[in-house]
Every structure is written in C-alpha cells, then in structure tokens.
Symmetry: D2
C-alpha cells in the first residue's frame, strides 16, 4: 500500500537518512547563490536592479522568464489594482487588531496575509477554473456565447453569482474596467477575457428582481488576464498575496503611528482624512 | 495615574462605548472607498494603474506622494535587490517547512514573514540609527571622517561588526555596489550614503587578524539609501518585508510543485537546476 | 441572485451600517465579561480555577459542558498524547527556523501552528468522516465487519492507506494503544472505536508484499475517541492544535536558549541529550 | 571582529558544510523518538498519558521535571485563569477577522497568537523583572516594605501604573484573588507574592484624584506565582500563549459556525447568549 504522508513519516525519513547517504533530491530552479554572485532564474541580480521593475522581477521569479514589455505593463497594473481597499477588509482589520497590541510590523503583516481566506481573494483561482470550463467547451466546437450560457446556467439555477462577478458596493468596478482596457491596448487580450465578457453578456439574460445583473469584479478581471498571460492559478494566487502586502503593511504602520494602543477597532468608526481627489501630474499621463 | 494599555482596557473601552456615543476618532489617510471610486492617497486607483509602477505605487501608499522619476527608479532597484536569496535563509526554510505539510500558500507566506526576526532584515533599522548618530555629530560640527571614526570605535572596542556591515559569504555584495551606483547616477545620493562610505573607510583602519575588514552589506546599503530618500525606519522595515514576499511565495510554490509532502528539509541538501548564467536581452540594457 | 461573500461586501456592509442602526446580530455563547465577573459557559472563572483541570476547562469552553470524570480523564490523555513528537516534524522545524532569526516566541508559535497542513494532523477530521461512513452502513443494517470491509475496499483498490492508519517509524504506536486502553477502562469506548478496530482487522486481509498491514496511528485513535465522546470534527481539529502548542513553544524556547542565531537547521543533525529513560514516581502510578 | 549573525551567514554556513563534515552540535533535551517509543524528558509518553494531567505534562515539557502535587494544581489554575476573556481582546478579534474570510482554523489561531503584542500579556515578563528588582533590594538588606516603596516611586513620579497592576474594567480581578488564595493554601507562596502584596500596599499611599489605587491584575498575579514556582520569564511567556490558545480557537470556531462570512466585526456589537450564571456541581467543589 502507498503510505500516507504524515508527521511520522518525517521521523522515519530522518531515521533512514541516518542509515544511508541517499538524498531527497531537492532541486530548485529559482535562485543560485555563489560568492559575490546571485543569479535569479539565471540573471545576475545586480544586472536586474535598475533594468527590470519590481513587477517584472516578480514575474521573472514566479514564471521563469522576463515578460514582454506589454505583459510587463499589464503585470504592473494587476499588482497595483489590489494594492489597497481601505480600512474595512477583514485581512486589514486582522492586521490592525494585531498592531494595536504592540506587535511588531512583521507579525501584523503575517496576520493580515492569514486573512486571505476562501472568501477573500479566493475567487481568482475559482474563476480561472470556471472560465477554463467554458473554454473547454469552445475547444469541443461549442460557440463562445453558447459555452458562456451553459456554464452560467448552473449558477442561475441555484440563484448564485458566478465566481469573479458581483459587487454590492461598486456597480462598476473601476479596476476591472481599466485592466481590460489595458489588456486590449497592449494586445495581451485573448480567449479568457473574451469568455468572461461572454459570461457577463449571458448574465444579462438573467436579471434579478430589480432588473440588475452582477458586473465583473476585480477578482474576475485578474483571473481572465492571468489566463490570457498563461499564468497558472497557483501563481495567480501568489500574485494576489504579493499585491496586497503593501496595503496591509501601510495600515499596520498607520495604526501604530496614529492610534492609541489596545483600542477597540470598530470597522464603521473611521473617517478618511487624506488628500482629497487629485489628478496625476502631466508627466505621468 | 496614567493607566497601562492592557487587554482589560479593551473590555472597558467596549463598556464605555455602550454607555455613550463618543468615538475613538479613528482617522486614516491611506485609501478612500466610495461607490465605483477608490482613491489611494487622493489618486484614483484606476488612473494609477498603467501609469505608476508597482514600486511607485508602494512608495505612494507608504510615503504619501508620488516619487520623482529618480527616486522611483531607486525604489524599484531597492525592492528588486531583496527579492530572493536562495533556499537557505531561515525565513525561506520556515515557508518551505510549512509548505511540505500541505498548508495553503498564504499560510506558508505568513510563516516566512514571521521569520524576519531581529537578525534577518533587522539591521536596516539599526543601521539607520547608527548612521543618524554619526550625522548628528556632523551637524554639531564634527568632520565626516572623524564622526565615522567615533561611531565605529564602540564596535572596534567590543570586536563587533557595525550594523549594515559584514558578510561571510560575499566579500563584496553585488547588490550593495549596484544600489550605490544607481543612487549616484540618479542623483539621490546624499549624507547617509556619504556616512556609510566614511564608516567603511574608517573600518579599514581596524582589520582583523587576517587583514580583512567587513564590507557594506545590502542591509547597510538600503539603510543609507532610505535615509537619503527621507524614508523613516518603520517604512524601511515595511519595504524590506514587501520586497521579500515574492521570494517566499516562489519557494513555497516550488516546494509544493516539485517535492514530496512531509519531507525532511535539510538546507545543505539542495541543488540549483535552473537556467545557467545569462545576460539581459539588449532592449533591457 | 444570492451574492458571493467577498471583500467588497465588507465595504458595502460598512456603508449599510452608516445608513441604519440595524446590527449583524453577533451573539456569542462562550464567555460573559462583567465588572469583577468572568463567566465561562456560565461558570465563574475563579470558581473553575483549582476545581477543573486545564483539560476539563478546554472541554467546557469548546463543547459547552463540564465533562464527566471519565471523559475528563480521556480528554487529558488525548491532549497529552500529542504534546510533542521531537525535533523533526515540519511544524516544529518551521518554529525553530523562525526562532533562529531572533523572532519573538509568539511569532515562532504562530509559524509552527501554520505548519499543521493537510498532511500534519489533518487525518483526524478525514478519519472521523471515514469511520462515520462505516457507521452509516451499520445503521442501515450492515454488520460491523462487513461495513469495515466495504469502506476499506476503496483504499485497497488504489493501494492507499486509509486515514488514521500507517506509520513507517512506529510499527505499533504506543500512544494509540494507551488511548484505547484508557477509553475501555473509563467506559467511554463506543461504536467509533469498535469501527476502527474492525477496520484494522479488515486490513489484515490485505497485507503488502512483505506481509505487513498498517497499524492504527495516533490520528486514528484520536478520531475514534473523539467520535465516541461526541466531539465534532471541527472541535477535534481545535484539540489537535491546542495539544501541540506546548511542544512548539518548548522547541522554539530551546532553540533560542541553546543554539546560535541564524544557524542552518538540518533535521538529521540533532542529538538527544535529555534524561535517559525513567519511570514515573510511585505516587503517580 | 565578531561577525553579526545575518541571512548571509546562513548561506555561508551551508557553504562550509558542503566542504566539511563538522556539525552545528544541535542538541535537544525535550523529547527522544525511537521506534515504538517516545520519551518526554525521559518519561515514556504512553505512561504519562492518564497519569499526568495536560497542565502537569506542559510543566514537565517546559521545565524538565514533574511538578509536586501543589505546584501542579497551581499550574492548572494558572493555565485556566487565562483561558478566555470574551470577544473583545484584540487577539480574539484578529482571530475572528481571519475566520470570517473563510480561513482554516489553524490560520485563525496563528493570527490570534500574533495579537499577543507588547501590551497584551507582555506585562508578565516585565512584572517579573519589576518584582525581582525589589527582591534584589531585600537581599541587600532593605526591608520588604521599604523595597516595595522604592520600586514603586519611579512609577508614582511619572504618574504611571507599575506592570502587573491596574484595570479599568475590574476593580478587583477575581482571577488574581483566586490564584493568590490557592498559592497560599497549597503552600507555594513565597517572596514574589509577598513582594507584589507589598507593592499593592505601597500604592495605597499614592491614590489618584478619586482616591483610588490600582489593584493587582492577572498578569501581576501570574508573574508573582511564576516567580515563586521558579519559572523563568521566557517560560512564563510560553505559559501565557499556551493558556489562551483554547479561547482563540473557540472564538474562531464559533465565528465560523454562527456568523455570516465576510462580515464587519464591530467589537461593541455583540451579545452573550450562553448559559446564565451557574454553580459547579457538588462533586467538583
């Protein structure tokens, strides 16, 4: 029988090692460290510095190759899109509740990352699988609209919203719209984006009692874009985590700088006092 | 007497709230969320997407303003410099040991972030204080070289290496050299970088029994650059955490994709099998 | 359509709150805090102190009632059984790798807890479901041995070991045997323990090429005992986490007290130098 | 010069290992694992099961020896005293905010443990040092009352409350009183408890504008008791973490069972609906 991997195997594995010299064959393709030399996926890290952006270096590290300029720009936009969503997401509140106890910043960031549960960012992976199920139909010869109609039906029947859709706060997520626009302009749009748009249209045929249908949300937009960039779901999940860490760190730092320790954090009880709406400087447009 | 902030105050604070309507005056200057609108430090998030890089958006979120182009490029290089340091740092091993148990990616990342203890990345903040102590002397009229000599003396006396210096593996950290070069070219070099160089020279007067002196390491380089960019130590700490998350996520993902679960992870027992050394494509130089 | 719970709902929920006074109806049945009074599941905490053991208080808090003396003793044994399994489990190594970076004890414990992935302690919940599937057959009129045979067949067919069984290190887990013995003596043994024994016998009919069959392991024993105590799988999962925290904390503390910081932790490279085998004092038997 | 322990040393240490067979001399005195045998501090784990309580086994694992019956009972009471403090401590809120995102129980527990910052449980270690500073004076020949008066003076001068004292919610912490009573009855009371009582009396001489002085809180009581049991501050810190994990797990589990996912958690907005005040059954008194 094939044994189950358990804690006890770990002990056994140690015992076996003491008896022989066989190794576990641990191989890594990420980074090679030698004296005065650091190669990330083969490229010297000091050469990358100043020549690839952080977003491009993240792509290189996770995917293995330098992205094309268009892919690189979409990658940057994707990472920026999730950078922060205000004080009320539970992951941010977990980080702030940790910060108010006087915990160090790294503990606050870890607590925030743990707050990316199934319901928080988890739609990206589910939505990729959802779109792939539609594209599988297309490859079998079903038309795009019919395929979208078919994969939507299950959710219509159970009165549920498909993954990557829906938003009670925003009726049109500005981040999703912008990401699709960029994918189009930079010519990285392909079948996943087409499928999610077909799904959006298919949903128009099934409005709720107020005549509304759910819009694509940012999870859905990122799922579609990652699909078209050839990024596998597990890497898309990593990108989501990476993209939100700055927001979590910023809130934890602000909590420590501006608030009393050991306070009771009521999510409704906050007020924005930052700069009012402003436009990017000309040189940035 | 001024009460201590403790768990029990939290309960009291809740009790007080039940009796009155006064609020804790929680204010946040980071991100404003309104229907169909997300403002990061006042800028619409969808306008930032595609116009600021992830590194520039991180600076905006943490510091409050868009960096100048030169500062932005140094910020990118700084974030790239820490992106990964191979399989053996304890934080990476914590993430891999978590991954081998079948834990989800976010749990692995959190465990890795918790492995940024005092000895791992912690030198940045300490080194900033160390350089500031030297610059305080300069402001009092002491010459740069004398100030460096004075702050180094304490470490020489106790046979310790000052924060931001030393490396048993690299004798010249390629990342530190590149960061200083960029700071010079992009004209963001100022008194902190001058001070750390003065310290390096001062250390030359105190070689060890083999005639060697410790080089500036990447923690020291980042401390000096952050000092010259006007980034406070707590934000520098946040930047360090943000910069290493992609590496931790990449190792956790690789562990899950390429290795058997519940294996014994011996840091010495790995082999790099990624691409061999290669140069950036021409268009990237 | 029923909306999906997402980050964006959180923001919406906050918005709704600003408009009305309706509450989320948050109710808790665990602990009531009033001035100079703390009631845990209705019992004054200061009365519990000295009258219930920690194990009994854990049962009270999680399950809602004080256990019978027999159940209380089995609960203590169950918590003790997992208290530590040496230096090599990946969760312990995650905690030690965190400790070696100089991180505070609570960060080390958190990293260790994160190392309870699917393959590490996760068998308890799976095994409970496995036993329940057999007991469902029994309730339909199938005999105990036949039911065990049937639920084992799937694993025999795929050459896999059922959850709660198998051990490459111990051929007879001393903890499992002791837990079953205590359950019998204290008269808490019921249908789940009978089912896991029937499964063990059923497995004897399907030896591997060396004539061996996998023994019940401690995960299986705890699953069966929790089933017979009427403890639901989610609470059994909580008990596993609680039981191992002392071991993780002890290893993290030992790492900080006895080892150099920033060392490379090789799981094979350790030696036990504690007391050699000794017997409990007479008064404890 | 003595090098600083940094990430880079970890890489070096690996490099050195590749060249030689010398080991890091990793020794552990906690648990010895051999086939079919598990020794905790020398005692077979299966013999401990049913003979030591969980609290006694925790003491054995952390301190190295089986506690005397009196010490064991105080240890149990100490662990029970912290088991839960309702829904509002920030660590509990961090765990609940993590749970509401659909994260697994272990992630919620880790987030909760990270919420034991400097202000949350951190007083135990500080108070032990505070009491020790007084006892050092006593050893120099200063009387108990004078020593207490002296160490209190610093706090009186700065209008601060000494560590281990103060409580805005409870004016008399029922847990502290009970712990002292038990220590007295079980004859483990010694100089640390005498010192904390002397401090409490000394504070009576310095009432606030309302004529009030801060009472000993549970952190102070545990600090004094641990001091008298000979438990070092780092182990006392471990005990605090261990004692609160059941409460965190219970709240995380309740959040998942009783509340909607992705809800906004307002600490003021909850209501206790568990059993009303009840007495322990006769056999437990």
């Amino acid at each position: 029988m094939k044994p189950r991997p358990t804690e006890l195997d770990a002990a056994t594995s140690a015992a076996r090692h003491q008896a022989s010299d066989t190794t576990d064959e641990w191989r890594t393709a990420l980074t090679c460290i030698e004296p005065n030399k650091i190669l990330v996926r083969g490229y010297p890290l000091d050469e990358i510095m100043g020549r690839l952006t952080f977003g491009e270096a993240i792509y290189l590290l996770l995917v293995g190759e330098i992205p094309s300029p268009g892919m690189g720009r979409v990658m940057e936009a994707l990472l920026v899109s999730f950078i922060d969503h205000g004080a009320t997401p539970p992951s941010t509140l977990a980080a702030r509740n940790t910060a108010t106890t006087g915990a160090p910043l790294r503990a606050c960031v870890a607590a925030g990352v743990l707050g990316f549960g199934r319901y928080h960012g988890g739609d990206i992976e589910t939505c990729m699988q959802f779109l792939d199920s539609g594209l599988a139909l297309v490859r079998e010869g079903v038309g795009l609209r019919d395929a979208a109609e078919r994969i939507v039906q299950k959710y219509v029947d159970t009165h549920e919203v498909p993954p990557g859709f829906g938003h009670r706060f925003h009726t049109r997520d500005p981040r999703a719209a912008r990401l699709f626009q960029m994918a189009l302009e930079l010519e990285v749009e392909a079948d996943h984006i087409q499928m999610i748009r077909a799904v959006e249209i298919a949903l128009h045929g099934h409005p709720d009692e107020h005549g509304r249908t759910p819009p694509v949300n940012i999870d859905g937009a990122i799922a579609a874009v990652c699909g078209d960039l050839g990024i596998p779901p597990t890497i898309a999940d990593a990108l989501f985590i990476i993209s939100r860490v700055p927001g979590i760190a910023a809130h934890a730092d602000e909590e420590r700088q501006r608030q009393q320790p050991m306070r009771q954090i009521d999510p409704k009880d906050h007020r924005y006092d930052g700069p009012s709406a402003r436009r990017l400087p000309e040189r940035r447009k």
